[in-house]
Protein backbone atom coordinates (compact mmCIF):
# COMPACT_ATOMS: atom_id res chain seq x y z
CA UNK A 1 0.00 0.00 0.00
CA UNK A 2 1.23 3.46 -0.90
CA UNK A 3 2.27 5.76 1.93
CA UNK A 4 -0.07 8.72 1.55
CA UNK A 5 1.30 10.83 4.39
CA UNK A 6 3.22 13.07 1.97
CA UNK A 7 0.42 13.40 -0.58
CA UNK A 8 -1.73 15.75 1.53
CA UNK A 9 0.10 18.45 3.48
CA UNK A 10 -0.57 21.58 5.54
CA UNK A 11 -3.84 20.34 7.06
CA UNK A 12 -5.34 19.54 3.68
CA UNK A 13 -4.28 22.74 1.91
CA UNK A 14 -1.66 21.15 -0.36
CA UNK A 15 -2.27 18.15 -2.58
CA UNK A 16 0.21 16.11 -4.56
CA UNK A 17 -0.92 16.14 -8.20
CA UNK A 18 -0.36 12.39 -8.52
CA UNK A 19 -3.60 11.77 -6.61
CA UNK A 20 -5.47 12.91 -9.73
CA UNK A 21 -3.60 10.70 -12.15
CA UNK A 22 -1.78 7.63 -10.84
CA UNK A 23 -3.41 4.25 -11.36
CA UNK A 24 -1.98 2.77 -8.14
CA UNK A 25 -3.38 5.61 -6.03
CA UNK A 26 -6.73 5.13 -7.74
CA UNK A 27 -6.72 1.40 -6.96
CA UNK A 28 -5.98 2.26 -3.34
CA UNK A 29 -8.96 4.65 -3.37
CA UNK A 30 -11.23 1.87 -4.60
CA UNK A 31 -10.02 -0.30 -1.72
CA UNK A 32 -9.67 2.19 1.13
CA UNK A 33 -12.43 4.67 0.27
CA UNK A 34 -15.05 3.15 -2.02
CA UNK A 35 -14.99 -0.30 -0.39
CA UNK A 36 -15.25 1.23 3.11
CA UNK A 37 -17.20 4.51 3.06
CA UNK A 38 -20.97 4.91 2.97
CA UNK A 39 -21.91 5.57 -0.66
CA UNK A 40 -25.12 7.13 -1.94
CA UNK A 41 -27.40 4.55 -3.57
CA UNK A 42 -30.83 6.06 -4.03
CA UNK A 43 -33.66 7.96 -2.48
CA UNK A 44 -36.43 5.82 -1.01
CA UNK A 45 -38.95 7.56 -3.27
CA UNK A 46 -37.31 5.82 -6.24
CA UNK A 47 -38.32 2.42 -4.82
CA UNK A 48 -41.90 2.87 -3.60
CA UNK A 49 -43.15 -0.75 -3.94
CA UNK A 50 -41.82 -4.22 -3.07
CA UNK A 51 -39.94 -5.56 -6.08
CA UNK A 52 -38.90 -2.09 -7.26
CA UNK A 53 -35.23 -2.07 -8.09
CA UNK A 54 -32.55 0.10 -9.63
CA UNK A 55 -28.98 -0.49 -10.68
CA UNK A 56 -26.08 1.75 -9.76
CA UNK A 57 -22.40 1.57 -8.88
CA UNK A 58 -20.39 1.67 -5.67
CA UNK A 59 -16.94 2.68 -6.78
CA UNK A 60 -16.55 0.50 -9.86
CA UNK A 61 -18.71 -2.32 -8.43
CA UNK A 62 -22.10 -2.73 -10.12
CA UNK A 63 -24.93 -3.16 -7.63
CA UNK A 64 -28.66 -3.83 -7.62
CA UNK A 65 -30.71 -1.99 -5.00
CA UNK A 66 -34.12 -3.59 -4.35
CA UNK A 67 -37.16 -2.97 -2.16
CA UNK A 68 -37.95 -6.18 -0.25
CA UNK A 69 -41.41 -7.64 0.44
CA UNK A 70 -41.03 -6.54 4.09
CA UNK A 71 -40.39 -2.94 3.01
CA UNK A 72 -36.66 -2.91 3.77
CA UNK A 73 -34.04 -2.14 1.11
CA UNK A 74 -31.18 -4.48 0.25
CA UNK A 75 -28.31 -4.19 -2.19
CA UNK A 76 -25.98 -6.75 -3.74
CA UNK A 77 -23.33 -6.95 -6.42
CA UNK A 78 -24.81 -7.22 -9.90
CA UNK A 79 -22.62 -10.10 -11.00
CA UNK A 80 -23.55 -13.78 -11.16
CA UNK A 81 -21.51 -15.85 -8.65
CA UNK A 82 -21.44 -18.71 -11.19
CA UNK A 83 -19.31 -17.24 -14.01
CA UNK A 84 -19.45 -13.52 -13.28
CA UNK A 85 -21.89 -12.23 -15.88
CA UNK A 86 -23.84 -9.04 -15.20
CA UNK A 87 -27.30 -10.19 -14.15
CA UNK A 88 -29.51 -7.11 -14.52
CA UNK A 89 -29.09 -4.67 -17.41
CA UNK A 90 -32.06 -2.39 -16.74
CA UNK A 91 -31.66 0.99 -15.05
CA UNK A 92 -34.73 0.28 -12.97
CA UNK A 93 -37.98 -1.64 -12.91
CA UNK A 94 -40.04 -4.03 -10.82
CA UNK A 95 -39.10 -7.69 -10.53
CA UNK A 96 -39.75 -10.85 -8.55
CA UNK A 97 -36.34 -12.23 -9.38
CA UNK A 98 -33.21 -11.50 -11.43
CA UNK A 99 -32.19 -14.08 -14.03
CA UNK A 100 -28.72 -14.30 -15.51
CA UNK A 101 -28.70 -14.32 -19.33
CA UNK A 102 -25.78 -16.80 -19.50
CA UNK A 103 -27.00 -20.03 -17.85
CA UNK A 104 -30.29 -18.99 -16.32
CA UNK A 105 -29.38 -18.88 -12.64
CA UNK A 106 -32.07 -16.82 -10.95
CA UNK A 107 -31.82 -14.77 -7.77
CA UNK A 108 -34.50 -13.48 -5.45
CA UNK A 109 -35.07 -9.85 -4.50
CA UNK A 110 -32.72 -10.41 -1.56
CA UNK A 111 -29.97 -11.80 -3.83
CA UNK A 112 -30.43 -15.43 -2.75
CA UNK A 113 -29.95 -18.09 -5.41
CA UNK A 114 -33.43 -19.52 -6.12
CA UNK A 115 -33.21 -21.32 -9.47
CA UNK A 116 -30.43 -23.44 -10.99
CA UNK A 117 -31.40 -24.94 -14.37
CA UNK A 118 -30.82 -28.73 -14.56
CA UNK A 119 -29.86 -28.68 -10.89
CA UNK A 120 -30.82 -32.31 -10.25
CA UNK A 121 -29.30 -33.71 -13.46
CA UNK A 122 -26.00 -31.84 -13.40
CA UNK A 123 -25.18 -30.89 -9.83
CA UNK A 124 -26.85 -34.04 -8.47
CA UNK A 125 -28.52 -31.82 -5.84
CA UNK A 126 -25.13 -31.24 -4.26
CA UNK A 127 -24.89 -27.48 -4.85
CA UNK A 128 -24.94 -25.47 -1.64
CA UNK A 129 -27.19 -22.64 -2.75
CA UNK A 130 -26.47 -20.22 0.15
CA UNK A 131 -22.80 -20.15 -0.90
CA UNK A 132 -23.81 -18.72 -4.28
CA UNK A 133 -26.05 -15.85 -3.28
CA UNK A 134 -25.17 -12.57 -4.96
CA UNK A 135 -22.50 -10.78 -2.91
CA UNK A 136 -24.36 -8.54 -0.43
CA UNK A 137 -23.60 -4.92 0.33
CA UNK A 138 -22.68 -5.26 4.01
CA UNK A 139 -24.92 -2.51 5.33
CA UNK A 140 -27.73 -0.47 3.78
CA UNK A 141 -29.24 2.35 5.83
CA UNK A 142 -31.39 5.42 5.21
CA UNK A 143 -31.15 8.90 6.56
CA UNK A 144 -34.42 10.83 6.08
CA UNK A 145 -35.08 9.01 2.82
CA UNK A 146 -31.50 9.05 1.47
CA UNK A 147 -30.28 5.47 1.09
CA UNK A 148 -26.59 4.69 1.43
CA UNK A 149 -24.63 1.44 1.42
CA UNK A 150 -21.21 0.30 2.56
CA UNK A 151 -19.20 -2.83 1.80
CA UNK A 152 -17.52 -2.54 5.20
CA UNK A 153 -19.34 -4.31 8.03
CA UNK A 154 -17.10 -2.48 10.52
CA UNK A 155 -18.10 0.99 9.27
CA UNK A 156 -19.87 3.24 11.80
CA UNK A 157 -23.63 3.70 11.46
CA UNK A 158 -24.77 5.96 8.63
CA UNK A 159 -25.91 8.57 11.16
CA UNK A 160 -22.45 8.61 12.78
CA UNK A 161 -20.77 8.66 9.37
CA UNK A 162 -22.74 11.73 8.30
CA UNK A 163 -22.06 13.31 11.69
CA UNK A 164 -22.60 17.06 11.83
CA UNK A 165 -23.42 17.16 8.12
CA UNK A 166 -26.72 15.48 9.00
CA UNK A 167 -27.48 18.31 11.45
CA UNK A 168 -26.97 20.82 8.66
CA UNK A 169 -28.81 18.81 5.99
CA UNK A 170 -31.81 18.51 8.29
CA UNK A 171 -32.44 22.15 7.32
CA UNK A 172 -34.04 20.84 4.13
CA UNK A 173 -34.41 17.07 4.75
CA UNK A 174 -36.41 17.41 7.94
CA UNK A 175 -39.21 19.53 6.49
CA UNK A 176 -42.83 18.34 6.70
CA UNK A 177 -43.33 15.63 4.05
CA UNK A 178 -39.58 15.29 3.41
CA UNK A 179 -37.88 15.36 0.02
CA UNK A 180 -37.71 13.23 -3.11
CA UNK A 181 -35.44 12.89 -6.11
CA UNK A 182 -36.94 13.32 -9.58
CA UNK A 183 -35.36 11.39 -12.42
CA UNK A 184 -34.50 9.32 -14.32
CA UNK A 185 -30.96 10.54 -13.80
CA UNK A 186 -29.22 12.29 -16.64
CA UNK A 187 -25.93 10.54 -17.37
CA UNK A 188 -22.88 11.88 -19.14
CA UNK A 189 -19.11 11.43 -18.94
CA UNK A 190 -16.22 13.63 -17.99
CA UNK A 191 -12.57 12.85 -18.60
CA UNK A 192 -11.60 13.96 -15.13
CA UNK A 193 -10.61 12.51 -11.80
CA UNK A 194 -13.62 11.92 -9.51
CA UNK A 195 -12.29 14.24 -6.78
CA UNK A 196 -12.25 17.32 -9.02
CA UNK A 197 -16.05 17.79 -9.21
CA UNK A 198 -16.39 16.85 -5.53
CA UNK A 199 -14.01 19.73 -4.72
CA UNK A 200 -15.93 22.02 -7.01
CA UNK A 201 -19.20 21.37 -5.18
CA UNK A 202 -17.90 21.11 -1.63
CA UNK A 203 -15.89 24.29 -1.51
CA UNK A 204 -15.61 26.29 -4.67
CA UNK A 205 -17.53 29.51 -4.36
CA UNK A 206 -14.45 31.13 -5.88
CA UNK A 207 -15.02 30.00 -9.47
CA UNK A 208 -18.65 31.11 -9.65
CA UNK A 209 -18.10 34.72 -10.62
CA UNK A 210 -15.41 33.89 -13.14
CA UNK A 211 -16.11 30.48 -14.72
CA UNK A 212 -19.85 31.13 -14.82
CA UNK A 213 -19.71 34.79 -15.80
CA UNK A 214 -21.52 34.22 -19.08
CA UNK A 215 -24.33 32.16 -17.55
CA UNK A 216 -24.76 34.61 -14.66
CA UNK A 217 -25.19 37.41 -17.17
CA UNK A 218 -27.57 35.48 -19.41
CA UNK A 219 -29.78 34.26 -16.53
CA UNK A 220 -31.06 37.55 -15.22
CA UNK A 221 -31.23 36.81 -11.49
CA UNK A 222 -30.10 38.29 -8.16
CA UNK A 223 -26.76 36.51 -8.69
CA UNK A 224 -26.00 38.35 -11.94
CA UNK A 225 -23.81 40.98 -10.16
CA UNK A 226 -21.37 38.17 -9.26
CA UNK A 227 -20.44 37.88 -12.96
CA UNK A 228 -16.80 38.79 -13.43
CA UNK A 229 -16.46 39.18 -9.63
CA UNK A 230 -18.01 42.63 -9.81
CA UNK A 231 -19.36 42.18 -6.29
CA UNK A 232 -18.43 40.03 -3.31
CA UNK A 233 -19.16 40.58 0.37
CA UNK A 234 -17.66 38.18 2.91
CA UNK A 235 -20.70 38.62 5.15
CA UNK A 236 -23.12 37.15 2.63
CA UNK A 237 -22.33 33.55 3.50
CA UNK A 238 -19.99 31.07 5.14
CA UNK A 239 -18.41 27.68 4.62
CA UNK A 240 -18.42 24.61 6.84
CA UNK A 241 -16.10 21.59 6.91
CA UNK A 242 -17.57 18.84 9.06
CA UNK A 243 -15.52 16.03 10.55
CA UNK A 244 -15.82 13.14 8.12
CA UNK A 245 -14.91 15.02 4.97
CA UNK A 246 -18.33 16.47 4.23
CA UNK A 247 -18.94 20.16 3.82
CA UNK A 248 -20.62 23.01 2.07
CA UNK A 249 -20.68 26.71 1.37
CA UNK A 250 -23.81 28.80 1.75
CA UNK A 251 -25.00 32.16 0.42
CA UNK A 252 -27.69 33.60 2.69
CA UNK A 253 -31.18 34.38 1.38
CA UNK A 254 -30.29 32.94 -1.99
CA UNK A 255 -32.09 29.58 -2.30
CA UNK A 256 -34.14 30.81 -5.26
CA UNK A 257 -31.46 33.16 -6.57
CA UNK A 258 -30.45 31.30 -9.73
CA UNK A 259 -34.01 30.55 -10.84
CA UNK A 260 -34.81 32.56 -13.97
CA UNK A 261 -38.37 32.86 -12.68
CA UNK A 262 -38.05 32.41 -8.93
CA UNK A 263 -41.28 33.98 -7.67
CA UNK A 264 -43.10 30.67 -7.14
CA UNK A 265 -40.13 29.21 -5.23
CA UNK A 266 -39.62 32.36 -3.12
CA UNK A 267 -43.29 32.24 -2.12
CA UNK A 268 -42.86 28.61 -1.12
CA UNK A 269 -39.82 29.36 1.01
CA UNK A 270 -41.53 32.31 2.69
CA UNK A 271 -44.42 30.02 3.55
CA UNK A 272 -42.26 27.15 4.85
CA UNK A 273 -39.46 29.01 6.61
CA UNK A 274 -41.48 29.71 9.78
CA UNK A 275 -42.17 25.96 10.08
CA UNK A 276 -38.46 25.20 9.81
CA UNK A 277 -37.66 27.92 12.38
CA UNK A 278 -40.19 26.55 14.80
CA UNK A 279 -39.04 22.95 14.34
CA UNK A 280 -35.24 23.39 13.99
CA UNK A 281 -34.42 26.89 15.23
CA UNK A 282 -33.06 30.12 13.80
CA UNK A 283 -29.82 28.89 12.24
CA UNK A 284 -31.38 26.13 10.24
CA UNK A 285 -34.17 28.41 9.06
CA UNK A 286 -31.37 30.57 7.63
CA UNK A 287 -29.79 27.52 5.99
CA UNK A 288 -33.19 26.54 4.58
CA UNK A 289 -33.31 29.87 2.78
CA UNK A 290 -29.67 29.78 1.70
CA UNK A 291 -28.11 28.48 -1.49
CA UNK A 292 -25.67 25.63 -0.79
CA UNK A 293 -22.85 24.03 -2.73
CA UNK A 294 -22.11 20.77 -0.94
CA UNK A 295 -20.57 17.32 -1.02
CA UNK A 296 -21.11 14.21 1.07
CA UNK A 297 -17.85 12.28 1.32
CA UNK A 298 -16.75 10.71 -0.94
CA UNK A 299 -18.62 11.26 -4.23
CA UNK A 300 -22.12 12.66 -3.79
CA UNK A 301 -22.74 16.38 -4.28
CA UNK A 302 -25.66 18.74 -4.38
CA UNK A 303 -26.68 22.34 -4.77
CA UNK A 304 -29.54 23.11 -2.44
CA UNK A 305 -31.63 25.90 -3.95
CA UNK A 306 -30.74 25.09 -7.53
CA UNK A 307 -31.64 21.63 -6.28
CA UNK A 308 -29.35 19.58 -8.41
CA UNK A 309 -28.29 16.23 -6.91
CA UNK A 310 -25.11 14.67 -8.33
CA UNK A 311 -23.28 11.41 -8.14
CA UNK A 312 -19.74 11.28 -9.56
CA UNK A 313 -19.03 7.63 -10.38
CA UNK A 314 -15.35 6.84 -10.86
CA UNK A 315 -14.41 4.96 -14.05
CA UNK A 316 -10.64 4.85 -13.86
CA UNK A 317 -8.41 7.65 -12.56
CA UNK A 318 -9.25 10.02 -15.43
CA UNK A 319 -12.89 9.34 -16.18
CA UNK A 320 -16.22 9.57 -14.40
CA UNK A 321 -19.91 9.23 -15.09
CA UNK A 322 -21.98 12.20 -13.96
CA UNK A 323 -25.50 11.32 -12.76
CA UNK A 324 -27.94 14.16 -12.12
CA UNK A 325 -31.36 14.24 -10.42
CA UNK A 326 -33.57 17.07 -9.19
CA UNK A 327 -34.15 17.36 -5.44
CA UNK A 328 -37.61 18.65 -4.47
CA UNK A 329 -39.75 18.77 -1.35
CA UNK A 330 -42.54 16.23 -1.60
CA UNK A 331 -45.15 18.74 -0.51
CA UNK A 332 -44.30 21.26 -3.23
CA UNK A 333 -47.16 21.84 -5.66
CA UNK A 334 -46.73 20.11 -9.03
CA UNK A 335 -46.14 23.40 -10.86
CA UNK A 336 -43.26 24.26 -8.52
CA UNK A 337 -41.73 20.79 -8.89
CA UNK A 338 -41.82 21.26 -12.67
CA UNK A 339 -40.10 24.62 -12.27
CA UNK A 340 -37.42 23.08 -10.04
CA UNK A 341 -36.77 20.45 -12.73
CA UNK A 342 -36.66 23.10 -15.46
CA UNK A 343 -34.16 25.23 -13.53
CA UNK A 344 -31.95 22.26 -12.69
CA UNK A 345 -31.93 21.10 -16.33
CA UNK A 346 -31.23 24.64 -17.56
CA UNK A 347 -28.33 25.18 -15.14
CA UNK A 348 -26.76 21.83 -14.18
CA UNK A 349 -28.24 19.31 -16.62
CA UNK A 350 -26.30 17.72 -19.48
CA UNK A 351 -26.84 20.92 -21.51
CA UNK A 352 -26.88 23.14 -18.43
CA UNK A 353 -25.62 26.68 -18.79
CA UNK A 354 -23.30 26.32 -15.77
CA UNK A 355 -22.58 22.58 -16.01
CA UNK A 356 -20.99 23.27 -19.38
CA UNK A 357 -18.50 25.73 -17.88
CA UNK A 358 -17.45 23.33 -15.13
CA UNK A 359 -16.95 20.16 -17.15
CA UNK A 360 -14.36 21.78 -19.33
CA UNK A 361 -12.32 23.01 -16.35
CA UNK A 362 -12.54 19.67 -14.55
CA UNK A 363 -11.18 17.82 -17.59
CA UNK A 364 -8.31 20.23 -18.10
CA UNK A 365 -7.42 20.24 -14.37
CA UNK A 366 -7.04 16.47 -14.59
CA UNK A 367 -5.47 16.14 -18.02
CA UNK A 368 -2.58 18.49 -17.37
CA UNK A 369 -1.23 15.95 -14.86
CA UNK A 370 -0.39 13.64 -17.77
CA UNK A 371 2.94 15.45 -17.87
CA UNK A 372 5.54 13.61 -15.78
CA UNK A 373 7.11 16.81 -14.51
CA UNK A 374 3.77 18.57 -14.06
CA UNK A 375 2.61 15.62 -11.97
CA UNK A 376 5.51 16.10 -9.52
CA UNK A 377 4.04 19.46 -8.56
CA UNK A 378 1.53 20.37 -5.89
CA UNK A 379 -1.85 22.07 -5.90
CA UNK A 380 -2.95 24.63 -3.36
CA UNK A 381 -6.28 25.24 -1.62
CA UNK A 382 -5.27 27.46 1.28
CA UNK A 383 -7.89 30.16 0.87
CA UNK A 384 -9.25 31.43 4.17
CA UNK A 385 -7.14 29.03 6.27
CA UNK A 386 -5.80 31.86 8.43
CA UNK A 387 -9.33 32.91 9.43
CA UNK A 388 -11.21 29.59 9.84
CA UNK A 389 -12.10 28.22 13.24
CA UNK A 390 -14.79 26.91 15.53
CA UNK A 391 -18.08 28.69 15.94
CA UNK A 392 -19.99 29.28 19.19
CA UNK A 393 -23.24 27.90 17.74
CA UNK A 394 -22.40 25.88 14.64
CA UNK A 395 -20.68 22.48 14.52
CA UNK A 396 -17.61 21.77 12.40
CA UNK A 397 -14.90 24.13 11.21
CA UNK A 398 -16.36 27.34 9.91
CA UNK A 399 -14.74 29.47 7.23
CA UNK A 400 -15.64 33.07 6.60
CA UNK A 401 -17.65 33.81 3.47
CA UNK A 402 -18.93 31.49 0.78
CA UNK A 403 -15.72 32.08 -1.19
CA UNK A 404 -13.37 30.01 0.91
CA UNK A 405 -11.62 26.62 0.75
CA UNK A 406 -12.22 25.31 4.30
CA UNK A 407 -14.35 22.37 3.19
CA UNK A 408 -11.93 21.49 0.40
CA UNK A 409 -9.27 20.99 3.11
CA UNK A 410 -11.71 19.01 5.25
CA UNK A 411 -12.36 16.69 2.32
CA UNK A 412 -8.64 16.03 1.81
CA UNK A 413 -7.96 15.48 5.50
CA UNK A 414 -10.61 12.74 5.48
CA UNK A 415 -9.26 11.36 2.21
CA UNK A 416 -5.81 10.99 3.78
CA UNK A 417 -7.21 9.40 6.93
CA UNK A 418 -9.05 6.67 5.04
CA UNK A 419 -6.30 6.16 2.48
CA UNK A 420 -3.90 5.37 5.32
CA UNK A 421 -5.76 2.09 5.79
CA UNK A 422 -6.27 2.65 9.52
CA UNK A 423 -9.46 1.30 11.06
CA UNK A 424 -12.52 3.47 11.73
CA UNK A 425 -11.80 3.19 15.48
CA UNK A 426 -8.19 4.29 15.10
CA UNK A 427 -9.21 7.25 12.96
CA UNK A 428 -11.90 8.29 15.44
CA UNK A 429 -9.48 8.07 18.38
CA UNK A 430 -6.56 9.99 16.99
CA UNK A 431 -6.32 13.79 17.31
CA UNK A 432 -7.62 15.69 14.35
CA UNK A 433 -7.32 19.19 12.95
CA UNK A 434 -8.82 21.80 15.27
CA UNK A 435 -7.73 25.40 14.74
CA UNK A 436 -7.54 27.31 17.99
CA UNK A 437 -9.61 30.23 16.78
CA UNK A 438 -13.24 31.29 17.02
CA UNK A 439 -15.24 32.61 14.11
CA UNK A 440 -18.13 34.84 15.02
Amino acid sequence: MKDVTKLILEDGAVQDRRIYWDQDIYEQELEQIFARAWLFLAHESQLPKPGDFLTTRMGEDNVIVARQPDGSIKAFINSCPHRGNVVCHADSGNARSFTCAYHGWAFGLDGDLVTVPLEHDTYYDAIERPRYAMHPVAKVESYKGLVFGTFDASAPSLRDYLGDMAWYMDSFLDVPGGVELLGPPMKSILNCNWKVPVENFIADGYHVGWAHAAALKAIESPLSPLAGNQAYDVNTGLQVATRGGHGFGVIWDAAAAIHPDGALYRDWIAQREPLVREHLGEWRARFYNGHWDASIFPNCSFLYGTNTWKLWLPAGPHNIEVWTWTLVEKDMPEALKQMMVATNMMTFGTAGMLETDDGENMEQCTGSNRGWVTRRGKLYSGMGQVREGTHPELPGIVGKGSVCESSNRGFYRRWAELMSGRSWEEIAREPHYAPNRQVA
Partner: protein, 183 residues
Protein backbone atom coordinates in the same frame (compact mmCIF):
# COMPACT_ATOMS: atom_id res chain seq x y z
CA UNK B 1 -43.70 22.01 -19.30
CA UNK B 2 -44.83 18.54 -20.32
CA UNK B 3 -43.07 17.13 -23.32
CA UNK B 4 -42.87 13.92 -25.36
CA UNK B 5 -40.25 11.27 -24.56
CA UNK B 6 -40.36 9.41 -27.88
CA UNK B 7 -41.02 9.83 -31.60
CA UNK B 8 -43.34 7.67 -33.63
CA UNK B 9 -44.44 7.24 -37.23
CA UNK B 10 -48.26 7.45 -37.36
CA UNK B 11 -50.26 4.44 -38.57
CA UNK B 12 -51.24 5.89 -41.96
CA UNK B 13 -48.86 8.73 -42.73
CA UNK B 14 -49.93 11.11 -45.49
CA UNK B 15 -46.52 11.54 -47.04
CA UNK B 16 -45.88 14.90 -48.66
CA UNK B 17 -45.39 15.52 -52.39
CA UNK B 18 -41.93 15.75 -53.96
CA UNK B 19 -41.75 19.56 -53.94
CA UNK B 20 -42.69 19.76 -50.28
CA UNK B 21 -40.22 17.04 -49.37
CA UNK B 22 -37.54 18.98 -51.22
CA UNK B 23 -38.39 22.12 -49.22
CA UNK B 24 -38.33 20.22 -45.93
CA UNK B 25 -34.98 18.69 -46.79
CA UNK B 26 -33.54 22.11 -47.74
CA UNK B 27 -34.89 23.56 -44.49
CA UNK B 28 -33.11 20.95 -42.37
CA UNK B 29 -29.87 21.11 -44.31
CA UNK B 30 -29.71 24.91 -44.40
CA UNK B 31 -30.55 25.06 -40.72
CA UNK B 32 -27.69 22.65 -39.98
CA UNK B 33 -25.28 24.82 -41.95
CA UNK B 34 -26.51 27.95 -40.21
CA UNK B 35 -25.76 26.31 -36.85
CA UNK B 36 -22.39 24.97 -38.03
CA UNK B 37 -21.53 28.57 -38.91
CA UNK B 38 -22.61 29.73 -35.43
CA UNK B 39 -25.35 31.99 -36.78
CA UNK B 40 -27.43 31.33 -33.64
CA UNK B 41 -29.20 34.68 -33.44
CA UNK B 42 -30.22 34.46 -37.08
CA UNK B 43 -31.45 30.91 -36.44
CA UNK B 44 -33.55 32.08 -33.49
CA UNK B 45 -35.01 35.00 -35.48
CA UNK B 46 -35.70 33.30 -38.80
CA UNK B 47 -36.07 29.54 -38.33
CA UNK B 48 -38.22 29.19 -35.19
CA UNK B 49 -41.84 29.98 -34.45
CA UNK B 50 -42.41 31.93 -31.25
CA UNK B 51 -44.32 28.99 -29.75
CA UNK B 52 -41.42 26.61 -30.52
CA UNK B 53 -40.91 23.64 -28.19
CA UNK B 54 -37.40 22.17 -28.31
CA UNK B 55 -37.07 18.85 -26.50
CA UNK B 56 -34.35 16.30 -25.79
CA UNK B 57 -35.65 13.79 -23.24
CA UNK B 58 -33.66 11.49 -20.94
CA UNK B 59 -34.60 7.87 -21.55
CA UNK B 60 -33.97 4.99 -19.18
CA UNK B 61 -32.70 1.57 -20.17
CA UNK B 62 -35.56 -0.82 -19.42
CA UNK B 63 -36.51 -4.41 -20.05
CA UNK B 64 -38.95 -4.87 -22.97
CA UNK B 65 -41.54 -6.37 -20.64
CA UNK B 66 -41.52 -3.19 -18.58
CA UNK B 67 -44.39 -1.10 -19.93
CA UNK B 68 -43.67 1.99 -17.88
CA UNK B 69 -42.61 4.99 -20.00
CA UNK B 70 -38.85 5.19 -20.53
CA UNK B 71 -38.77 8.74 -19.22
CA UNK B 72 -40.79 10.42 -16.54
CA UNK B 73 -42.62 13.62 -17.27
CA UNK B 74 -41.34 16.17 -16.32
CA UNK B 75 -38.54 14.33 -14.49
CA UNK B 76 -35.52 14.84 -16.71
CA UNK B 77 -34.78 16.58 -19.97
CA UNK B 78 -31.55 17.74 -21.51
CA UNK B 79 -33.66 20.31 -23.36
CA UNK B 80 -37.25 21.24 -22.68
CA UNK B 81 -37.03 24.77 -24.00
CA UNK B 82 -39.39 27.43 -25.27
CA UNK B 83 -38.52 30.51 -27.32
CA UNK B 84 -37.27 32.65 -24.38
CA UNK B 85 -35.19 29.77 -22.98
CA UNK B 86 -33.47 29.26 -26.32
CA UNK B 87 -32.86 33.01 -26.40
CA UNK B 88 -31.21 32.79 -22.96
CA UNK B 89 -28.89 29.98 -24.14
CA UNK B 90 -27.89 32.07 -27.15
CA UNK B 91 -27.38 35.20 -25.02
CA UNK B 92 -24.92 33.19 -22.92
CA UNK B 93 -22.92 32.40 -26.05
CA UNK B 94 -23.10 36.04 -27.13
CA UNK B 95 -21.49 37.38 -23.93
CA UNK B 96 -18.03 36.41 -25.19
CA UNK B 97 -17.33 35.03 -21.70
CA UNK B 98 -17.85 31.31 -22.44
CA UNK B 99 -14.28 30.15 -22.02
CA UNK B 100 -15.07 26.68 -23.35
CA UNK B 101 -16.01 28.21 -26.72
CA UNK B 102 -12.80 30.22 -26.95
CA UNK B 103 -10.90 29.06 -28.94
CA UNK B 104 -13.81 27.99 -31.09
CA UNK B 105 -15.29 24.47 -31.17
CA UNK B 106 -15.77 22.92 -34.57
CA UNK B 107 -19.19 21.33 -34.76
CA UNK B 108 -20.32 19.62 -37.94
CA UNK B 109 -23.89 18.38 -38.34
CA UNK B 110 -24.91 15.67 -40.81
CA UNK B 111 -28.59 15.22 -41.69
CA UNK B 112 -29.97 12.12 -43.42
CA UNK B 113 -33.01 9.81 -43.87
CA UNK B 114 -35.31 12.80 -44.30
CA UNK B 115 -39.00 12.06 -44.70
CA UNK B 116 -42.13 14.10 -44.09
CA UNK B 117 -45.90 13.68 -43.80
CA UNK B 118 -48.74 16.19 -43.52
CA UNK B 119 -49.70 16.83 -39.92
CA UNK B 120 -53.28 17.01 -38.63
CA UNK B 121 -53.02 20.79 -38.65
CA UNK B 122 -53.28 22.50 -42.07
CA UNK B 123 -49.99 24.00 -43.26
CA UNK B 124 -47.87 21.85 -40.96
CA UNK B 125 -45.73 18.79 -41.62
CA UNK B 126 -43.99 16.25 -39.43
CA UNK B 127 -40.46 15.68 -40.64
CA UNK B 128 -38.24 12.79 -39.56
CA UNK B 129 -34.50 12.70 -39.95
CA UNK B 130 -31.40 11.09 -38.49
CA UNK B 131 -28.33 13.02 -37.50
CA UNK B 132 -24.67 12.71 -36.60
CA UNK B 133 -22.90 15.60 -34.90
CA UNK B 134 -19.11 15.72 -34.61
CA UNK B 135 -17.48 18.15 -32.21
CA UNK B 136 -13.77 18.77 -32.30
CA UNK B 137 -12.13 21.04 -29.76
CA UNK B 138 -8.73 22.18 -28.55
CA UNK B 139 -6.04 19.94 -30.04
CA UNK B 140 -7.64 16.48 -30.26
CA UNK B 141 -10.80 16.48 -28.17
CA UNK B 142 -13.36 14.78 -30.42
CA UNK B 143 -16.85 13.53 -29.65
CA UNK B 144 -19.70 12.13 -31.72
CA UNK B 145 -23.40 12.23 -30.96
CA UNK B 146 -26.04 10.57 -33.11
CA UNK B 147 -29.74 9.92 -33.08
CA UNK B 148 -33.00 10.87 -34.68
CA UNK B 149 -35.31 13.83 -34.55
CA UNK B 150 -38.94 14.54 -35.30
CA UNK B 151 -39.72 18.09 -36.30
CA UNK B 152 -43.02 19.88 -36.67
CA UNK B 153 -42.62 22.48 -39.39
CA UNK B 154 -45.17 25.22 -40.01
CA UNK B 155 -45.48 27.40 -43.08
CA UNK B 156 -45.46 31.04 -41.98
CA UNK B 157 -45.67 33.76 -44.66
CA UNK B 158 -44.50 31.32 -47.30
CA UNK B 159 -41.52 30.09 -45.27
CA UNK B 160 -41.10 26.92 -43.24
CA UNK B 161 -40.35 27.40 -39.56
CA UNK B 162 -39.63 24.99 -36.73
CA UNK B 163 -42.53 24.75 -34.28
CA UNK B 164 -41.50 21.62 -32.38
CA UNK B 165 -38.49 19.33 -32.30
CA UNK B 166 -38.04 16.12 -30.36
CA UNK B 167 -34.45 14.90 -30.41
CA UNK B 168 -33.50 11.39 -29.36
CA UNK B 169 -29.81 10.82 -28.70
CA UNK B 170 -29.12 7.09 -28.89
CA UNK B 171 -26.80 6.99 -25.87
CA UNK B 172 -27.98 6.26 -22.34
CA UNK B 173 -24.77 7.73 -21.02
CA UNK B 174 -24.04 10.79 -23.13
CA UNK B 175 -20.48 10.15 -24.28
CA UNK B 176 -19.53 13.80 -24.08
CA UNK B 177 -19.06 16.36 -21.32
CA UNK B 178 -22.24 18.20 -22.30
CA UNK B 179 -24.74 18.74 -25.10
CA UNK B 180 -24.66 22.51 -25.16
CA UNK B 181 -25.25 22.81 -28.88
CA UNK B 182 -28.33 22.82 -31.06
CA UNK B 183 -29.06 19.71 -33.10
Amino acid sequence: MNAPTHVKTPANPRYVDRDTLFEVERFLIREARMLDEERFREWWHTQLTEDVHYVLPVREVRMRADKKPVGSNPGAYVFNDNYPMLDMRIRRLETGLVWMEDPQNYIRRFVSNVDAAWADVAGEVDAWSNFIVYRNRRQRDETVVWGTKQCRLRRVDGQWKLARRVILVDQRVVLDKNLYFFI
